[in-house]
Amino acid sequence: MNTKAILEVKDLHAWFGNTEAVKGVSLSAAYNAVTAIIGPSGCGKSTFIRCLNRLHEELPGAYATGHVLIENIDIYDKKVDPVSIRRKVGMVFQKPNPFPSLSIFDNVVAGLKLAGVKRQSTLKEIAEQSLLSAALWSEVKDKLHAPGTSLSGGQQQRLCIARALAVEPTVLLMDEPTSALDPISTAKIEELMTELRKKVTIVIVTHNMQQAARISDQTAFFLSGELIEFGETSQVFTAPQKEQTERYITGRFG
């Protein structure tokens, strides 16, 4: 693993109007690392990752302050276009959300088309590559023009991953990507993540502690908008440094 930080968050605060949801978080992720974000519902973990591609500010009244550096470029710099950031920082959501009116193929290349790529041969090549990377190619190669929504839940989620990969992001954000999936589809996505990390730096929000333990290199524990503990996953799950982390991961909360 290259230890150079590809993602650096410095004193990030996120607000919904007057409510502060993320309170001064700083952390960094090395190139090709998988970072898991854990914490109880409402602790600010989803808001946090939505700040990493400037999606948070799209909600009415929502804004963020602080710095998020991706490959040394501060995405909150005034000169930076949020749309270009979202190309660099892909996102996969809890519920698979393929574009309902588009075919499998068109779902994968949607981002490329928006970016102005028109050549069919290029689109085909990238679609195949992305579907291969998302471990979906063999299952869909004969029905690329079927609707994306005709696939199973697990396949739809991998289609969304393929769509995110097609624009060659540097960072991939995953917000509880397997919480709506059965154990087999979950295992496939986890397996896929260990492959994907060779190409992208992954930040995943998960409620599944075992999942965080299985797939991540480092774990951040959030509570009430604050980053309580951030460290190597093996350390956090065997000997956490903070009492609050200990209580949360052993289920002694409340």
Binding site: Q210, T238, G251, R252, G254
Partner: protein, 229 residues
């Protein structure tokens, strides 16, 4: 704070281990008394206790396996179960050593004593105390008691070395009692092993409580110094 259902299972597991440890202490005590009083029923007690210890060994392991599979413990819970699995093995081996002492003692008392036993009773006492403090540390979750055990191991080792040396000296002059001498050396060795197992348990207790791995710390420190030089 709300008690989890899991806490009750962990408590039950700990109690099971403490019961087993009680049997081990009793086995060591009976072996000691057997040598002292030469009464054969004491040795029979040791063999009977060891059978019970073996049953506990199996049931503690199976309880641990079940908790690992069904509860998927983390942090302190994980460290505690991990430590219990290891302590379980050490306790079982301590039971085996008590049996070894009983067998050796039965051999020893068949013939006239090689010499008056001076250091061996001291060693018995040291080891019993060491085992007692170790179990206290486990039951009371007391790190400083566990650390005290680690310091005491040197005393047991020194006593064993002294017994080895004294017996060897004696055998130089009375070679017809080689078997008796050897048996005494074996008993000292059995006791020393019990002390080692107690040390292992103390190390596991420290790990369970703090997450710190103190095993082989002198060795690791020496290696680090050597590397830095």
């Amino acid at each position: 704070m709300m008690e989890r259902h899991f806490d009750a299972s962990l408590r039950e597991l700990k109690e099971q281990l403490v019961t087993m440890a009680g049997l081990v202490e009793k086995a060591i005590e009976e072996a000691t008394q057997g040598l002292k009083t030469t009464k054969s029923e004491r040795f029979q007690n040791v063999y009977e206790l060891e059978r019970k210890i073996n049953q506990c060994h199996i049931s503690v392991d199976s309880a641990c396996l079940k908790l690992l599979a069904l509860q998927q413990p983390l942090a302190t819970d994980l460290r505690l179960i991990f430590a219990i699995i290891k302590i379980n093995t050490d306790l079982e081996r301590m039971g085996d050593q008590a049996v070894n002492i009983a067998r050796n003692a039965q051999e020893y008392i068949k013939s006239p004593p090689l010499k008056p036993l001076i250091d061996l009773p001291i060693m018995f006492q040291e080891v019993r105390e060491m085992v007692g403090i170790t179990l206290d540390a486990f039951v009371k979750n007391n790190e400083s008691l566990a650390r005290e055990v680690l310091k005491r191991d040197d005393r047991v080792d020194a006593l064993k070395n002294k017994i080895f040396k004294d017996v060897l000296e004696l055998l130089k002059t009375s070679s017809e009692q080689v078997e008796q001498g050897l048996t005494l050396i074996l008993i000292a060795r059995n006791l020393e092993r019990i002390g080692d197992h107690a040390t292992n348990i103390a190390e596991d207790v420290i790990f369970a409580l703090t997450g710190e791995d103190v095993r082989h710390s002198t060795q690791v420190a020496t290696m680090k110094t050597a590397l830095n030089e």
